[in-house]
Every structure is written in C-alpha cells, then in structure tokens.
C-alpha cells in the first residue's frame, strides 16, 4: 500500500518536475538564441562528435538489414524488394530509434555529467551569484544543440545504412541494383521520410531534455553525478521506445 503509494507519488512528482523544467527551458530559449555561439558549440559537442559512431553503427545496421532482409525475402523469391524493406525499415524505425539510443549513450551522458560536475564544483552557483542565469547559458543551449543535432545525425545514419544495405544486397548477394533502387523509389513516399524526421525531432527533444534535467538535478557529489548519468541512459532509452510506439501508432 505505502509502497505503491510512494511509487505513484514519486512518479507523478518526477513527471511534474520534468514538465516544469521543460517549461523553464523553453522560456529561456529566446534568450539563448541571442547567443548563437553557445548553441553552435553544443551542436558541435552533441552532433559533430557523435558523427563517427553514428556512421559506423549506421553502416553495420544497414549491412545486417541487407543480410537478414535478403535471407527472408529470398524464401519468397522477391529479393528485389530488399531496397524497399531496407529503406522503410531504416527511415521509419531503425534510423530514429537506434540513432536516439546511440545519441543518449554518446551525447546525453556527456551533457549530464558536464552539467552535474558544473553543479558539484559550484559553477552554477557562481553563475547565479554573477546574475548569469544558468538556465539560459548552460541548459537551454545544450537542449537546443541536442534538438538540432539528432535529426541531422539520424539523416546521416539513414543514408549510410541504406548504402550498407545496398553494399550487402547488391554487391555481395547479387540483387539487381536497378530493381533495388527502382522498387525502393516506387514504394517510399515522402510521408515515410517525414515520419522519420518527426520521430527524430521528438526523440532529440526527449533525450536532450532528460540529459540536461538529470545533470541539473544531480546530487552534487561524485556518486550523484554517476547515478544521474546512468539514469539519463535508462530514462532516455525507455522514453524513446515508448514514444516510438505512440508515434508509430499515430502515423499508421
């Protein structure tokens, strides 16, 4: 009784706290837009530095998709549809979801530990004492940077994955390249691309918000920062998959 009560209350409380934090961050975004250099720096940290891992993983996800898709489609004698399967799988699901999970692991943890350490070393307090709002100069640029970086990373992931699938399917397995591309172009609609982009924007917002929230609310100790980093990965991953279900149900 008391346990479930505590779970419900604490769950409600954290949802409320994240929502209030989101509201405060959004309120600071216009102010932080006046300092584009800060945002550029965060796009570099969250995006450009994640590019290599995103491209590498995209290549391997695409190659696995090529192998598995070919093996499955071959049983029905329609391995020409490999391009369609790979493109739709990457655009609608694998790109945004795997991209967001990698983003949470690579960039989200960096954000959380950075902000958590700034808090633990009293840098945020010092900023406040100098009448510099850390929400505006620390949190909002990082949130925006992640929000801008993830959709671009996912697009790169999709393109690299597509070429990975093409590499395996066409070069290795001998699927006809014309059929691969023409069937893909015949089956993929602009709506499918839009769905992937919308998903990646939503996931980018969710993962960045969780990362900055956990960092900002970390206990200002070494242990607290470590715990907050762990929570960033766990919460981002769960929320990404949950939102993915909701968005998929909405788009179908």
């Amino acid at each position: 009784m008391s346990l479930s009560d505590g779970l419900i209350v604490s769950g409600l409380r954290s949802i409320g706290a994240v929502s209030i934090f989101l509201g405060r961050t959004l309120a600071q975004i216009p102010g932080s837009l006046l300092r584009p250099r800060l945002i550029v720096h965060q796009i570099y940290n969250a995006g450009a530095r994640s590019l290599i891992i995103i491209m590498l993983c995209g290549l391997f996800v695409g190659m696995v998709l090529g192998l598995q898709g070919f093996d499955l489609l071959q049983r029905f004698g329609s391995e020409d549809a490999l391009g369609v399967a790979a493109a739709l799988g990457l655009l609608k699901e694998l790109g945004p979801v795997v991209g967001a999970l990698l983003f949470a692991g690579r960039a989200g943890t960096a954000l959380t530990s950075e902000i958590g350490l700034m808090k633990a070393t009293d840098q945020l307090t010092a900023m406040r004492m100098m009448a510099v709002d850390p929400m505006r100069f620390v949190v909002a640029p990082r949130f925006l940077g992640g929000l801008i970086a993830l959709p671009l990373l996912v697009a790169v992931f999709n393109v690299v994955g597509l070429f990975g699938a093409q590499l395996i399917g066409v070069q290795l397995m001998g699927v006809d390249p014309g059929a691969f591309w023409s069937q893909m172009q015949g089956a993929v609609e602009l709506d499918d691309v839009t769905e992937g982009v919308v998903k990646s924007i939503v996931f980018g917002a969710a993962c960045s918000l969780i990362a900055v929230y956990q960092g900002y609310h970390a206990a200002p100790t070494a242990e607290g920062v470590g715990l907050a980093t762990t929570r960033t990965v766990v919460n981002s991953s769960v929320l990404t998959l949950l939102l993915d279900y909701i968005l998929t149900a909405r788009f179908l």
């Binding site: 550029v40 796009i43 570099y44 590019l51 329609s78 393109v159 014309g178």
Partner: protein, 170 residues
C-alpha cells in the same frame, strides 16, 4: 580565436552533411531521379497494352541475362498504349530487329522486367528502333477472372471444348 574557428568549421561541416543527407532522403528516395553512373547504350522503344507495375530502372533481360534497363515509361495519348523506352547496353548491338518484348514477373511476387525474345532478322536493333512484337504484362486478377468465367461456362452445361478460352493478346 583559432580553436573556436576549428569548432565552427567542424559544426558547419556536420550541419551541411546532415542537411545533405536529409535532402538526399527526401528527394532521391521517393519517386525517380537517382542516376546509377553515366548512362550508356542505345535507346529502343516498345509499345505495350499494359505494363503492369513496370518501373523506370527495371531490368531488361534476354535469355535470363540482364542486357539493359527501362529508361522511361509513358503513355501514348493517341493509341492509348504504354510506351516503354529501353536502354540496351552497347555490347548487345546484334539483337534482331524482329525480336519480341514481353513484360515478365520475377517470381510470384517479384518485380516486373522486360524480357526480349530474339527474332530471326539480319537487321539489328539500333538507337531509335521500335520493337513491334510486344506482349503485355499478365495481370493476375484478369487471369483469375478469366479462369472463373471459363469455369462457370463449362459448369453451365455444353461442351468443355475450350472455345471460350481467351484469345491470345498480341
């Protein structure tokens, strides 16, 4: 100032790469437009009553070997026929002029392709030639309809001589 500059260049490259990828996904994947290298070979047209879901880029094959691709599929507004432009690779320059073209399906559910059956003429297909003898795509639904129609008339009584079998299309 120097490290800041490197950072901004890196960010710029990343953003450009991301938008290039987005542009590629939204323009090249849906619809047509992706070019696979420099096109070579000669163009041949053929008119079909029905091409099924033949698409630009579908293979053209002869005796099971890929010899080219479908360059374009359009409709002749006068004859109401589908005009398919085929790009044949240059090394297959000795295809007889009276060869026939048919729309085939790769496997039961596979994509459509154009099959070329060789004729016996000494004159070969060249740039701008037209293949006269064509056979349309087999539309599975029509086939099933015809099957049931002939089945019903046969069950209806008289002879099952097959007089009501569909006439072969040209």
């Amino acid at each position: 100032m120097r490290p800041n500059r490197a950072l901004e260049i890196g960010t710029g490259l990343f953003v450009l790469l991301g938008f290039a990828a987005l542009f590629f996904l939204s323009t090249q994947l849906p619809g047509s437009g992706l070019k696979l290298g420099k096109p070579e070979g000669f163009l041949v047209t053929a008119a079909f009553d029905n091409v099924g879901d033949l698409k630009t880029g579908s293979p053209v094959s002869m005796a099971g070997v890929n010899i080219g691709r479908v360059e374009a599929v359009t409709v002749d507004p006068v004859a109401y026929k589908a005009v398919v432009t085929l790009r044949i690779q240059p090394q297959f320059s000795s295809i007889p002029e009276d060869s026939d073209a048919s729309i085939q399906t790769a496997g039961l559910l596979g994509g459509k392709y154009v099959g070329i059956g060789p004729g016996g003429s000494d004159v070969y297909l060249k740039e701008g030639s037209t293949i006269e003898f064509t056979q349309s795509a087999i539309v599975l639904e029509n086939l099933i309809n015809k099957f049931f129609a002939s089945f019903a008339s046969r069950g209806g009584g008289n002879n099952g001589s097959g007089a009501d079998e569909p006439a072969p299309q040209d």
